[in-house]
Symmetry: C2
Subunit: 387 residues, 2 copies
Amino acid sequence: MRITAICEQAVRLEGAVANAVVSFRDHTVSLVAVVSDQIRDGRPVAGIGFNSIGRFAQSGILRERLIPRVLDANPDELLDAAGQLDPARIAGVALQNEKPGGHGDRAGAVAALELAVWDLNAKLADLPSGAYIAQRLESTPLANGAPTYAAGGYYYPEDSTARLKDELCSYRDLGYTAFKIKIGGASLAQDLDRIETAIEVAGDPGKVAVDANGRFDFDAAVTYGNALAKYNLRWFEEAGDPLDFALQAELAACYEGALATGENLFSSADSRNLLRYAGLRHDRDVLQMDPGLSYGLTEYLATLAAAETAGFARSQCIPHGGHLINLHIVTGLGLGGCEAYPGVFQPFGGFSSGCALVNGNVTAGDAPGWGLEQKDSLAPLIAELVA
Amino acid sequence: MRITAICEQAVRLEGAVANAVVSFRDHTVSLVAVVSDQIRDGRPVAGIGFNSIGRFAQSGILRERLIPRVLDANPDELLDAAGQLDPARIAGVALQNEKPGGHGDRAGAVAALELAVWDLNAKLADLPSGAYIAQRLESTPLANGAPTYAAGGYYYPEDSTARLKDELCSYRDLGYTAFKIKIGGASLAQDLDRIETAIEVAGDPGKVAVDANGRFDFDAAVTYGNALAKYNLRWFEEAGDPLDFALQAELAACYEGALATGENLFSSADSRNLLRYAGLRHDRDVLQMDPGLSYGLTEYLATLAAAETAGFARSQCIPHGGHLINLHIVTGLGLGGCEAYPGVFQPFGGFSSGCALVNGNVTAGDAPGWGLEQKDSLAPLIAELVA
């Protein structure tokens, strides 16, 4: 088995939304294809991956560093004992001569490539990636799909609680029963109005999470924590800078409800520090590391192992990134749930017509691999990439 | 005052050296020019910067994200109250719509740009950057140049202690009195031979530092620590993964000599975690954060402030990266010393003919800015970049 080509294309996200810190107007994502010499239905089988959502395409790092290393390697060094492409070995070769530390853009670049290899292997096994992952890793998959919350409630130039209510009701109409909205981009009073609107739509504060996207200093985090306490929300996400473990620990000491963080930590080394120093409580807090931003599934498994060693259950792992790749990973590994962005981040956000949403749970469908070709918005981009 | 253009060129490093973890054969550096509308001697004044040494050029991030943002900004937003280009504001604009966390490649990309602005400002003030920095930041510069150690002792395909001795003697002949060599890329016994060779050349173990480049697990770090203790070396650098603060703290608890680390932490947020959790001892340990890898001088000042708040003296701050930019920063801020790579990492490593090496101290010369145009190997690349 050989890789015959690796292609990358930067794709611009559609929709002009903003959280408390950034606007996504100019955000891009790297779509990657790993093309093999294996033929099915008269065509070479290609694995497809991308580096999740919320950062940027990594065309430079992929084209200048990672892809040449993989294509220049001895092809036998890319295979496992069974002769299949080995995602871990390929990620290792892609990182040859890269120093430790500095887990940022590079982590997303490797992830897009590594996740494409998982897609390829699942397609060759003729299995949806969730089932393939469960089989290969001997994990217990979720039987009825992934509990999925609809993430939205961004700030828009023309904003109001009426607009927010319409937005969340539209998600409820789609079948979502749990929601997440942004906080910190308006006054506390306005944010509390937004939260009460969300609770009204959800019918249960335990179905509403809030996300500050790391914007608060310690005083603001505690002010919000005190104001949020009475609601018993599902979780309060990323109050402060993602690396400010001291702030996180101090907040955990005074806010009783669940806290969530981890989406902006891009390696198991960073995640281990979070687990060691941030005062997270393994009876309630939520870990949101995203494989697509952090070197892919191999590295995510190391992060997951560290979390389990620290006493966290898989049910507390709910990755950032609402798209098909994470839906399969959550389902296959038996994690706590998945995110969805029904309205935004196209063409990558959301699922495909082969996925079903029943009682707030999303099933990943029967298509082999991540099933990205089944997503109408992605299919033409993939066809162009592997043409 | 206006920026009229920002140019970037990836430049390949010369020389095929290796440390315990990586080979530098394919390493590249981004050379950046910020061209202004200010005319001196009939030509527009351009500021030059680069993203230090040891990681990679960041052409993609600079050209796709950072440079367009700065060129698209309202030019008045890039100026300070005095109407000069403000490095902090320019770095802020370059990072617009970038999320917090993930301090890796992006940190080097911003640094090359931000350091070019410092060069431009110093040239407009007709001052060497060291003097300009001291004046602008009201710091006490080093009066007699920067104490500078020669870093080398990499592993070569055909290696021997005789070769190492020749190498270090050649540095001694140049006037260097202190040295750093790599460890961890050979057996412990071979490494001890290498260390004894270095001590023999230096004439004093307090003039010899060793660098494991993050390769050891805890057991190996302690094994080396126990074997090194008897020598009273200058420092033992980066024993374990740069983010493994627990390993660092455990090593500090059992190794009495000085430890050094920080070159692979690329933000003040990461550095604050090191200062909080890694058990570093402010009466002896050495901090090596490198402005050129970590968002530039503005961010380095935040890191330096955090170190001083934690009880470290500026004399304990000895940045990674032996080149003209860090020589000026060390001199201007009154830090503990500078690194030099007399034999390797051309065209960026080392200093210029305007710099003098006297009693192990390097003076930065009288050229305005970083003086990069005075370095024979860089001058033609800069001329081509701004042509």
